[in-house]
């Protein structure tokens, strides 16, 4: 009943959420309730890995919201992800307390060996979980808001915007590399012990984080879905397809863009915050422009403008990365690079746009002799963008 009311007959959403929760439950049970030598056991290693994929899926979702629906190609979303991660990392560092190698009750190890005497002001408060969680959302939101406000107000669009987002994340990369910034320089933050008092390295905690990532993914998905289906979402798509038309209709476009961009930044920040305890390290490398571009490609692979596609793209590409870097390490970059080219050239709609089309074509061919040709159903990604998103 309720599902019917919320989802109507959006079967894609039902399937997506169904499978997501199914996997979450199954993995949790198979990891916790079976012994390691059981044939059904899902090793903790795989749980952490899948948790990471889910965080990437949230990041992809956040990119899709601005790229797929508003046409803002951000090549700097990794910055929001990393900022969220750093905020979480700072909380986790403070949680270490006197268990660091130097045993300093307050200062993280890297500050001790750089001879810092007291905690810099911007580290204050991060020992409080709720404050830290607030910062996880606030810091990326603030950056996204200020950056978006300045950029969209002066109508920086298209590739120009992409290039300055890249410059933004690059500047942050350099800044966080500096040891004087007080974020651990190149080494970043690592050697976390526990979260809310629970040991991070227990299976239970890993499963909890994994499940949380899944739930956050579902929540972000539903939020994005609600937004994109609302009239607000229609305005976003209108902006993507004909920005000045929207303006001449009386919509203050920059307001919509800033709102979407900020929300997207927050989602990326949350993803980063869940990512850090699962991979165990956050360092400036996350700001690298290449990471952000890679994330954009997940979205392109999955199918931009389709929320499920973005999530699937992130998971598929990263699964491929895991397998490839294990099997054929030398070929990984060829495969990744080739994928970029292949997808943009031959699958502009991504997996979710193309696969159903192919299936449809195959079915039509089979049915060709029997029935008169009928117009193909619009694929679920029919609202995928037609032109470039500039």
């Amino acid at each position: 009943m309720i599902t019917k009311r919320i989802f109507g007959n959006d079967r894609l959403t039902l399937w997506f959420l169904g499978i997501l929760f199914g996997v979450l439950a199954l993995v949790a049970v198979l990891n916790l309730a079976t012994t390691p030598d059981s044939a059904f056991h899902v090793p903790t290693y795989a749980v952490a890995l899948m948790g990471k994929y889910l965080c990437y899926a949230i990041l992809a979702l956040s990119i899709d919201l601005v790229w797929g629906y508003v046409g803002i190609l951000s090549l700097g979303h990794g910055a929001f992800f990393a900022l969220g991660g750093y905020a979480m990392g700072m909380y986790l560092m403070r949680q270490i307390g006197p268990r660091g190698v130097y045993g300093d009750p307050i200062l993280p190890d890297f500050m001790v060996f750089l001879n810092w005497k007291e905690l810099p002001w911007y580290w204050l408060g991060f020992d409080n979980f709720f404050f830290a969680m607030f910062m996880v959302a606030l810091v990326p939101a603030l950056l996204a808001f200020v950056f978006g406000y300045l950029a969209f107000r002066s109508r920086v669009t298209g590739v120009y915007l992409s290039i300055i987002t890249q410059a933004m994340t690059y500047a942050l990369l350099l800044a966080f590399f500096r040891n004087d910034m007080g974020f651990g320089g190149n080494n970043g933050l690592t050697d976390f012990k526990d979260l809310l008092g629970f040991n991070l390295q227990t299976d239970g905690m890993r499963v909890t984080l994994f499940v949380s990532s899944g739930i956050l993914l579902a929540a972000c998905y539903l939020l994005c879905r609600w937004i994109t289906l609302s009239r607000f979402g229609k305005v976003l798509i209108a902006i993507r397809d004909a920005e000045s038309r929207t303006r001449f209709m009386g919509y203050r476009v920059e307001g919509y863009k800033v709102a979407a961009f900020t929300l997207s930044g927050i989602m990326a920040g949350l993803a980063g915050a869940l990512y850090v305890p699962q991979v165990g390290i956050i360092n400036p490398g996350e700001f690298a422009p290449q990471n952000s571009i890679e994330a954009v490609v997940w979205v392109a692979v999955g199918g931009r403008g389709t929320l499920v596609g973005a999530a699937i793209g992130a998971i598929v590409v990263n699964l491929g990365k895991t397998l490839f870097t294990g099997w054929l390490p030398d070929l990984w970059l060829f495969a990744l690079g080739g994928l970029f080219v292949f997808v943009t050239l031959l699958m502009p709609k991504g997996i979710l746009g193309t696969v159903p089309q192919l299936l449809e074509m195959a079915r039509n061919r089979r049915a060709q002799n029997a029935v008169a040709e009928k117009a193909p159903d619009a694929p679920p990604s029919a609202d995928a963008p037609k032109g470039a998103g500039e």
Partner: protein, 431 residues
């Protein structure tokens, strides 16, 4: 149809996951697996690929000798792609999926920091072959590269004594190793009576390529009437433009010598060294070391890589030592069980390539000679000084405020990586 696709995809994800899980138990116990965790792509591939090759050669050699404990060794190579979180992930994969008995890997400190919790959690063994900043001692990591006292301090001593250097430029890339090393050196130099005015510290970003200003500054700093030297902890890629600028601005080694801790034979292979003759490097091994062990190693290495010009360098020697130590410890323990091997490793002594023996100390660092070499026109080093005895790696520097009271000893009953001799407690300097 989209639903069918989603189903397929879900199946694929689950299948892959299950597969990853399943391979774990499937393999029979007929080989001993050794993990190799070096970046084969990305920015660090430049340094780390070589170490992967060394490991493959060492394992092949060992197998020719009949393996270990009567079993063949099987290398498991993965590519963490210079991506630090991926190091942790791959380490986890090696240990819990591939069930390796030990891992040889990492280059940068951050990669080691990234995998450290994984090795501690899953109780496995990592051999880390690169000189580093110290300030760490993990039960599960064996540091076969140099600690600062095995590289930086002897080099500075040499310059003071042999070249009469009174004024120092500490130039480094802005990351932990140079920061720490320079902190230690600064304290050391001050302890030796060098005035603060006579020390210039400079940090540059990774991959810095425009050195004009800095080299000019060094030149200026060096013309204050006192013999000046540069202690360089400049990392990898930035070195080539740095040395090119030095040579072009005419800073000869007889004027302002530069001693580097991160420049070895591999790095020089990308440079015309004829203008750099006389600049120095401090390592625990040089390819030019004149011993039968080294000659044999180089011959095997060049044969293995099918490249008669292939050079060898210090981290490679560290892997040779580490690998031999591991083999010996496994044989001593009679098992590859990590706990037994970790215990057995302490005290193991194997020949190094510079004609002596290196021993694994209770702090998981090894004893090494320190060699100072001057760059020659052919890209090799002319060894101008060698410590008479072996120097033991000092993980907790005596010259740093936070660590001067700490020691590490992994033997029972202490079994502690950060024992505070002042408070008599394990666990750093806190209460």
């Amino acid at each position: 149809m989209s639903t069918r696709f989603t189903k397929w995809l879900a199946g694929a994800v689950l299948g892959a996951t299950a597969m990853v899980g399943a391979t774990a138990g499937a393999k029979a116990e007929d080989t001993i697996k050794v993990g190799v965790l070096h970046s084969l792509s990305g920015t660090m591939a430049i340094s780390e690929t070589t170490l992967k090759d060394v490991m493959l050669m060492l394992i092949e050699e060992q197998n020719k000798k009949g393996g270990v404990l009567g079993m063949k060794l099987e290398p498991v190579v993965v590519d963490p792609a210079s991506d630090w979180p991926l190091f942790a992930e791959k380490a986890r994969e090696l240990i819990s999926v591939n069930k390796v008995s030990a891992v040889f890997g990492c280059w940068t400190s951050v990669s080691r920091k990234s995998v450290l919790p994984v090795f501690e959690e899953l109780d496995s063994i990592l051999f880390y072959p690169v000189q580093y900043e110290g300030e760490e001692s993990s039960r599960n990591i064996f540091y076969t590269g140099a600690a600062p006292n095995q590289q930086a301090i002897p080099a500075v001593d040499y310059l003071m004594e042999e070249e009469g250097v009174e004024r120092w430029v500490l130039a480094g890339t802005d990351y932990v190793y140079p920061r720490t090393t320079n902190k230690i050196l600064e304290a050391y130099l001050k302890a030796k009576g060098v005035a603060a005015d006579d020390i210039m510290i400079n940090y540059t970003p990774f991959g810095h390529s425009d050195w004009q200003t800095i080299v000019a500054d060094i030149k200026k700093f060096g013309s204050a009437g006192k013999k000046t030297a540069v202690v360089s902890t400049i990392n990898g890629d930035a070195n080539v433009p740095f040395y090119k600028e030095l040579a072009n601005q005419g800073i000869a080694a007889t004027d302002i010598p530069v001693v580097a801790f991160s420049v070895g034979e591999e790095e020089l292979a990308g440079l015309d060294t004829s203008n750099l003759v006389g600049h120095l490097a401090a390592w625990n091994y040089f390819m030019s070391v004149d011993t039968p062990e080294n000659a044999e190693f180089i011959e095997k290495w060049q044969a293995f890589t099918e490249n008669p010009k292939r050079v060898s360098n210090d981290p490679m020697e560290a892997h040779v030592i580490g690998f031999n130590m591991w083999v010996k410890a496994v044989e001593k323990a009679g098992t590859t069980d990590p706990d037994a091997v970790i215990d057995a490793l302490i005290g193991v002594s194997v020949p190094n390539l510079s004609g002596g023996y290196s021993t694994m100390m209770p702090n998981h660092h090894i004893t090494k000679p320190v060699l100072i070499g001057e760059i020659e026109a052919d890209g090799q080093f002319n060894i101008v000084s060698q410590t008479s005895g072996l120097i033991m790696g000092d993980e907790w520097s005596d010259y740093l405020e936070g660590s001067k009271d700490l020691i590490s000893d992994w033997r029972a009953p202490l079994s502690c990586g950060n024992f505070n001799v002042a408070t008599g407690k394990c666990g750093g300097s806190g209460e």
